[in-house]
């Protein structure tokens, strides 16, 4: 299990994470980021890729 955390103070809603991990991140109707706080291990490499491409480096995750 992976817990995803986005620092919403840093997030600028560029949505680059959405391209890397579309099952976890999305931009809503107001162009703001929404995300799943918990996901399973199969998404790990996508979460890493999303964290890497975030211009604000706002994404962190922990593994349980």
């Amino acid at each position: 299990m992976i817990k995803v955390k986005v620092d919403m103070d840093k997030c600028q809603h560029y949505g680059q994470c959405v391209f890397e991990a579309p099952n976890i991140f999305k931009l809503n109707a107001e162009d703001k980021l929404e995300y799943l706080a918990t996901t399973d291990d199969s998404e790990k490499s996508n979460v890493i890729a999303a964290a890497d491409v975030c211009p604000m480096q706002a994404i962190t995750f922990t593994e349980k």
């Binding site: 600028q12 560029y14 391209f19 931009l27 490499s45 890493i48 890497d52 491409v53 480096q57 962190t60």
Partner: protein, 399 residues
């Protein structure tokens, strides 16, 4: 045991090392860096690190050093390399032999040549140390003159204006950013900066710095002069590739690579065990008939590092990297962003190679999106706000 030596300890070098481990490389990784810092993120240097006087921990990349298992040699620039016998020499005179070499040495600020050699009051911005120097000199009411109206120049202008400095921007072009995103877009950016009290001197240049022990004024090409306490050169960058001299590489502007990011020599021969990542990689277009180019955008070292890590793991053990297609050319979609005041610019593709620019969504005085076409094909999309609209255009870009 295979040895990878990565020259360059910034984001490109780090992402390469991470990709190596994630793709199964179990050999030795050494990362050599000129700066004394562990890899850190540069974009905040012109923005909130400068604005809020933040410290290094706010920009340092989160590295799991144990998992990475790399030997970092920091504050020790590469001096030269002999590609034929696989040996790198550092400034310290230490020699490192390698099986695979990755060049990710990035850029340094270009500096103008002024007759007056005065240094006190003169700044440029590339590193954390540069940013701290600028911040130490800044206080409300100081006169800042920025030479250059590109993204760094404009971000610095906005940040320093918010710190209550008087800010003048001097640049050669007629309209800021016009060569990159077009005239209409650029004019609007200038207008929004002017609304915040920034003064522009476009179609202009700086003739000389004035001041004996420290800068007091700058003289402009049009004969006028500006008071100046802090002079910042934001006139682009030069690739750090001098250490590669003497190897017959094509390094007129960064290092030419093939479609797998392997370096190519002047005879057109690909050097199998030598890769180039990030700002110094001059890599080919895949679909367009235009010469190879360097792309100085933040996502390029990330994509390049990812690719090269996999290439090396594949080279060491073909077929071992899950889902990696070695035949597929390296063709990342470039993207960049810029934050200036509350202006949030985002771009996909390469707007600057367009022959046709159109405002397609929104309004120029609010949020908007421009499309950029070249010979009828969409090569870029850029705008302010309107994120979802912009993200939808991304998949249509053809480069």
């Amino acid at each position: 045991m295979n040895k990878v030596v990565i020259v360059g300890a910034s984001m490109g070098g780090l992402r390469t090392a991470e990709s190596l481990r994630r793709s199964g490389f179990s050999g030795e990784i050494t990362i050599v860096g000129a700066e004394k810092h562990y890899p850190y993120n540069r974009p905040p240097l012109s923005k909130d690190l400068l604005a809020e006087d933040k410290t290094f921990d706010s920009i340092e990349f989160n590295i799991n050093k144990e998992e990475l298992g790399a030997n970092f040699m920091l504050g020790n620039p590469a001096q030269s390399v002999d590609i034929s016998n696989h040996e790198l020499t550092l400034n310290s005179n230490q020699k490192l032999s390698y099986d695979f070499l990755v060049a990710a040495t990035g850029l340094r600020s270009r500096k103008m040549d002024f007759q007056n050699p005065v240094q006190s009051g003169r700044f440029s911005l590339r590193t954390y140390d540069d940013a701290k120097r600028i911040r130490s000199a800044v206080s409300p009411g100081k006169h800042v003159v920025i030479l250059g109206a590109g993204f760094i120049g404009l971000e610095l202008a906005a940040t320093l204006r918010k710190l209550n400095c008087k800010v003048d921007v001097v640049a050669m072009e007629a309209v800021p950013l016009a060569p990159i995103v077009g005239e209409l877009f650029g004019k609007e950016i200038q207008r929004r900066h002017e609304a915040e009290g920034i003064h522009f001197h476009m179609n202009n240049s700086i003739e000389n710095l004035i001041g004996d022990k420290f800068i007091t004024h700058v003289s402009l090409g049009d004969g006028t002069s500006l008071e100046c306490d802090i002079f910042i050169e934001a006139v682009g960058s030069l690739p750090n590739t001098e250490w590669l001299d003497g190897n017959g590489l094509d390094k007129a502007n960064g290092v030419l690579t093939d479609k797998t990011l392997r370096a190519i020599d002047l005879e057109g021969k690909c050097i199998e065990n030598f890769f180039v990542v990030g700002d110094i990689a001059r890599f080919p277009y895949v679909n367009l008939q235009i010469p190879a180019r360097r792309i100085e955008h933040w996502n390029i070292p990330i994509e390049g590092g990812k690719r090269v890590g996999r290439e090396i793991s594949h080279a060491v053990k073909p077929g071992s990297v899950d889902g990696f297609n070695h035949e597929e050319p390296f063709n990342p979609l470039p993207s960049f962003w810029s934050d200036q005041f509350n202006i949030s610019i985002f771009s996909y593709g390469e707007p600057k190679i367009a022959d046709k620019v159109n405002l397609v969504y929104g309004r120029i005085d609010s949020d908007f999106i421009f499309t950029y076409h070249r010979q009828g094909k969409l090569v870029g999309a850029a705008g302010i706000g309107m994120r979802q609209g912009l993200n939808k255009l991304r998949s249509e870009i053809w480069l």
